[in-house]
């Protein structure tokens, strides 16, 4: 089965619908997805069947998801879910980003303005500091692992007003 066949289907017990393909690599693919009940748009990474069977890969996959979810920082990519789907194989549900990674940016522009590099450095370091505080060392930081994403302060979102969480839980 090709990864393309997953488009339009649901995974994780019908929880996420797989939309378009965002990218493909040696071990699998990344899709845009949607939480079926909440409508939330996510990125879904799927490890192809030939690699999904490896226990070592599965263990690492889950370890990394656990590490990522242990870190609460707006500068660390959020992971929402991880598991094994009978059809798709190993999957990981992550925050969907718009923007580009630093590797793509450097490919296109060679370098970035000094002030922007400083901002990127500060923000990436903030995220890493949070990870370190949670006992996680990245070990594989590189431009392809740093995303420049935009946060719209007046984004048009359709999510309804939610009642506030208890104050204690709001951190």
């Amino acid at each position: 089965m090709s990864v393309h066949d997953l488009i339009g289907t649901t995974i994780a017990g019908g929880k996420y619908r797989v939309r378009g393909l965002l990218g493909e690599g040696g071990m699998g693919a990344v899709f845009e997805g949607e939480h079926v009940d909440m409508g939330k748009r996510v990125a879904v990474k799927v490890i192809s069947a030939e690699h999904s069977g490896s226990e070592e890969i599965e263990a690492r996959f889950k370890r990394e998801a656990r590490a990522a979810s242990a870190v609460q920082s707006e500068n660390i990519l959020q992971v929402f879910d991880v598991g094994r789907d009978p059809v798709a194989g190993l999957y990981m549900v992550m925050e969907l980003l718009s923007g580009q990674d630093l590797s793509a940016r450097l490919e296109a522009d060679k370098k970035v303005p000094v002030a922007l590099a400083v901002v990127i450095g500060m923000q990436a370091a903030k995220g890493l500091a949070k990870a370190h505080a949670a006992g996680v060392v990245h070990r594989d930081l590189k431009p392809a692992n740093v995303f420049l994403t935009t946060r719209s302060t007046s984004a048009s979102r359709s999510s309804p007003w939610m009642s506030p969480p208890p104050v204690a839980a709001a951190s």
Partner: protein, 377 residues
């Protein structure tokens, strides 16, 4: 765009005994020694070195083994030697992140944040504009998560990857690490020079201003995360944000205050100010619903405030918790003494409304923690 350059191609993480990407690996990691968080300080240093210089810190036409060897042997050349356009203090920070000996390297990422902040203040870098405008992607809007299909070359990722015959010859002057002794000495001299610098070079006023701006910007970014997805649905739908001061003002006080704004999703709607944050003492004043109504009615006689009371009250409670979590004193502004003439307020709100349209974009650097994010063979 779809075809990664030879340089970037080599960034594919290699599977094998050592996990990591040779040209971003710290010397201790490259040697297979135990690593701690300082390995990430080094890697981020290399990333910034490359982003600033436009060249590779370690690269050229090397095999992964050769890159590893170069990393083990010496730090890259001092940044200013390859990128003289970089501000001196910024370059000094990057060089300190790239100290070969982890014991001498910047101690941790918090230190790196502080050093970069100080360098930006000293060099008077405009981080706010960089944050707002720097996001302009050169690729398409969805470029971030596009993974390129690996080419035949990228698929070759075994540790004994041979030099690529087709790759262009290296530019030695820029790319190759300098001789060990010379570059070590130069780096030590640079480190000594930067250590000898007084912490503050610019005037205290300008310095404080930049610090306020940076603080305001951070707060606004945290705030944006906190209220992400929050909407108030009255006669008009509103989203919430915390404005960043637009620039330097001589007045301070009210002009420099950050406003908690309710932004109408429809263009041309009226922006409502739900509160203010004073830059000096960080006192936050949130407006009660009645205060909001009185402000609104002073301009639109008899008009209905386009936000329902219950939703607004919920928002205020929630926002209060946001500021209190940051140890900022929160006051509730009750019915008010009418400090600002109505006409002035109106003008200001229109200005804010206009700003609201263009202020949407902040660049945020996000680190992907998941190594397998980047699919590899």
């Amino acid at each position: 765009m779809d075809e990664p350059s030879a340089g970037r191609r080599r960034q594919l993480t290699q599977d094998g005994a050592i996990i990591g990407t040779p040209q971003y690996m710290s010397p201790e990691q490259a040697q297979g020694l135990p690593v701690d968080l300082r390995t990430d300080v080094w890697s981020l240093g290399v990333v910034l070195y490359e982003a600033l210089s436009g060249g590779d810190a370690y690269s050229g036409n090397f095999t992964p083994q050769q890159v590893l060897f170069e990393v083990m042997k010496a730090p890259p050349r001092p940044l200013l030697e390859v990128a003289p356009w970089v501000h001196r203090r910024v370059a000094a920070v990057i060089d300190q992140a790239l100290a070969h000996d982890p014991a001498v390297r910047l101690a941790d990422c918090d230190t790196l944040v502080n050093e970069l902040t100080l360098a930006a203040e000293t060099e008077r870098l405009d981080l706010v504009t960089a944050t707002r405008l720097g996001a302009t992607p050169s690729g398409g809007p969805r470029a971030a998560q596009k993974r390129r299909k690996p080419t035949a070359q990228t698929a070759v990722a075994s540790p004994d990857l041979a030099p690529q015959a087709a790759a262009p010859a290296p530019a030695p002057s820029v790319r190759q690490p300098g001789p060990v002794v010379v570059s070590e000495r130069a780096r030590q001299a640079a480190a000594a020079a930067s250590a000898a610098l007084p912490a503050k070079v610019v005037t205290p006023v300008a310095d404080a201003r930049t610090a306020f701006q940076a603080q305001a910007e951070n707060l606004a970014a945290d705030f944006a995360t906190f209220v992400r997805g929050v909407e108030l649905n009255g006669t008009t739908t509103y989203t919430v944000d915390l404005a960043v001061p637009e620039g330097q003002s001589t007045g301070g006080g009210k002009h420099a205050a950050q406003h908690v704004r309710l932004l109408p999703k429809k263009a041309g709607g009226l922006v409502l100010v739900a509160g203010t944050v004073s830059p000096l003492d960080r006192i936050t004043e949130l407006r009660s619903y009645d205060y909001l109504v009185s402000r609104y009615r002073s301009r639109f006689e008899g008009g209905m405030v386009p936000v329902p009371r219950a939703q607004y009250d919920q928002l205020v409670v929630r926002l209060a918790s946001f500021f209190r979590m940051r140890n900022m004193p929160v006051k509730l502004a009750e019915l008010e003494p009418g400090a600002e003439p109505a006409a002035q307020t109106k003008r200001k709100d229109r200005r804010l409304a206009a700003l609201g349209g263009g202020l949407g974009v902040l660049v945020v650097a996000l680190v992907a923690l998941c190594l397998t994010m980047f699919l590899r063979r």
